[in-house]
């Protein structure tokens, strides 16, 4: 494999030319040349198509699939969940797209291609391939208030730009070449950027497994030193509550929901390293960071600017954004490079770091045959510091059981958004204008609790 020279603006390398291994699988490391051999072999197996679903759960498999899809000039489809209805909706737009899978995804109604590469197919002797910078690399989806999932396209050039901004901020352009220990799935925008692209384009190594339980995280950090822990407030809280002895990572990165300074402080003490939060969203990708124990304001990535519009919405634009992107949060801009996040916009929910639109959830509930009326009730903002609070729902559906309604919702929603409890009522207490005041809904829910 020969080194990459400077590239013209319109093509960009698939991989950084660094000595850091691309991946770590158990006790083994996989070199960039061995990774490239896996990528080329898979690319040769891909059918002719515009796009492919990348549903691989193992991070190495995901990375091989991601790169092979790019190499074939196709688009990575990254669905927000694996529900049958969700996949069918996206497949409707991309009827020729196969699903690249590695787990027991038997029930997917799309032609599947199994990915089992493990870095043992030899080493590629070819130069690092290049990809046109304007090629659409991924499509991510967010649930908008309008109903249909909103599509967010990212070009390879845009992913390069945001990744290099982050690598600069977090010292991953050179240095020790840490292993990225991620608890987030690679299909999530934050997981893609921080656990796949940092390794592809920076001086870092991805860990193929996805540690889930605190003991998994501890074992991975111990095996992978020096390590960067890429996690979420949800997982970080679980790790802190587990009361384990923690190996010291080089750094912790945290995103998907704001972390309170107390938890950030506890994490820095217990893990013995600095913690940096990343602010981002599916719409714009990662755009800013802060050292939570030292500052409450966010600082944008280098080259990224924000500006407030008259209607209170704040937009962001950097080299990775062809046009300014409105942010889905309530944000107070200090200047073009600093802001404070005040909270989410009214329609946006965040459960354990996953976002959804309340309007979209309600639309899906009411679309179920036999549901005459229904409404989701968001939880009080983290009243229970112990665990995760869930959505509740009230439905008027005389002929449908709770199990039937839950099963239908499970086909289009992430399990985190399934209502708990789901309560049958005779009618919803709508006001004269059709509105459902929150307090009235909470009262109705509480009355159900007493009867049960």
């Amino acid at each position: 494999m020969t080194g990459t020279q400077d590239h013209p603006q319109d093509i960009l390398p698939l991989l950084a030319d660094t000595p850091a291994p691309l991946a770590r699988i158990g006790e083994r490391t996989v070199s960039r040349a061995a990774f490239l051999a896996d990528v080329q072999a898979l690319a040769a197996r891909l059918p002719q198509a515009r796009a492919a679903f990348n549903l691989c759960q193992d991070r190495y498999h995901f990375a091989v699939a991601f790169a092979a899809i790019l190499l074939r000039r196709q688009i990575n489809l990254l669905p927000p969940n694996r529900g049958r209805t969700t996949l069918a909706e996206i497949a409707g737009q991309y009827p020729d797209a196969p699903a690249l899978v590695d787990g027991p995804d038997a029930e997917i109604a799309i032609p599947v291609l199994r990915v089992s590469a493990c870095g043992e197919a030899g080493e590629s002797a070819e130069p690092i391939p290049t990809i046109p910078s304007d090629q659409t690399a991924i499509l991510a989806f967010s649930s908008g208030s309008t109903g249909t999932p909103t599509v967010h396209a990212r070009s390879w050039g845009a992913l390069h730009a945001v990744t290099h901004q982050a690598l600069e901020c977090f010292g991953l352009q050179d240095g020790a070449g840490p292993t990225l220990v991620g608890t987030v799935p690679p299909q999530h925008m934050y997981g893609l950027e921080s656990t796949i692209l940092y390794a592809l384009l920076g001086h870092a190594t991805l860990l193929s497994q996805r540690p889930f339980y605190p003991e998994d995280v501890r074992a991975a950090l111990a095996a992978c030193a020096p390590a960067v822990l890429v996690t979420t407030p949800f997982h970080l809280n679980a790790c802190l509550r587990a009361g384990l002895e923690w190996p010291q990572p080089e750094r912790i990165l945290c995103a998907t929901a704001p972390l309170d300074p107390e938890t950030a402080g506890a994490a820095e003490r217990v893990f013995g390293c600095r913690l940096d939060e990343i602010y981002g969203c599916t719409e714009a990708g990662a755009i800013a960071t802060r050292r939570t124990t030292r500052e409450s304001d966010w600082t944008t990535y280098p080259g990224v600017e924000i500006h407030a519009k008259d209607d209170g919405i704040v937009q962001v634009q950097g080299p990775q954004h062809p046009a300014a992107v409105p942010l889905p949060d309530h944000i107070e801009a200090r200047d073009a490079h600093h802001f404070r996040m005040e909270g989410r916009l009214a329609d946006q929910l965040n459960i354990a770091g996953k976002r959804a639109s309340l309007a979209d959830l309600n639309r899906r509930l009411n679309a179920i045959p036999g549901v005459l009326d229904g409404v989701f009730i968001p939880p009080e903002p983290s009243t229970d510091a112990r665990g995760v609070t869930r959505l509740a729902a009230l439905v008027v559906a005389p002929g449908r059981s709770e199990a039937e309604i839950q099963a239908t919702l499970a086909e289009c929603l992430d399990p985190l958004f399934l209502p708990r409890p789901l309560v049958h009522v005779d009618h919803l207490p709508r006001s004269a204008t059709g509105k459902l005041p929150r307090q009235v809904l909470l009262d109705l829910l509480a009355r159900h609790g007493e009867c049960a």
Partner: protein, 90 residues
């Protein structure tokens, strides 16, 4: 009616308490029924919460790479057996 062993009753109560399952009575959890998706309808967040509660109560750390992680959370009976076996071993 479910016939839980004494230890299964204890673990059933731990499940109900740690997951705030307000409308589930511990003694009604069928020992052989699935805990996740079907059955009680639990998900990955519950699994993590439950793992924390189990480590606090019994000092048993749940790991994903346990060969039979799927089986451990298969049912109340399987989970109780796993806790008992590992508590005894340590």
């Amino acid at each position: 009616m479910a016939s839980q062993t004494t230890f299964e009753q204890e673990v059933a109560q731990l499940i109900v308490d740690s997951l705030n399952l307000e409308d589930v009575a511990a003694e009604e959890i069928e020992p052989e029924d699935a805990l996740f998706r079907e059955g009680l309808g639990l998900d990955s967040i519950d699994a993590l919460e439950l793992a924390l509660a189990i480590s606090r109560a019994y000092g048993v750390q749940i790991r994903s790479d346990d060969e039979n992680n799927r089986q451990i959370f298969q049912s109340l009976r399987a989970l109780s057996a796993h806790i008992e076996a590992n508590r005894a071993a340590s």
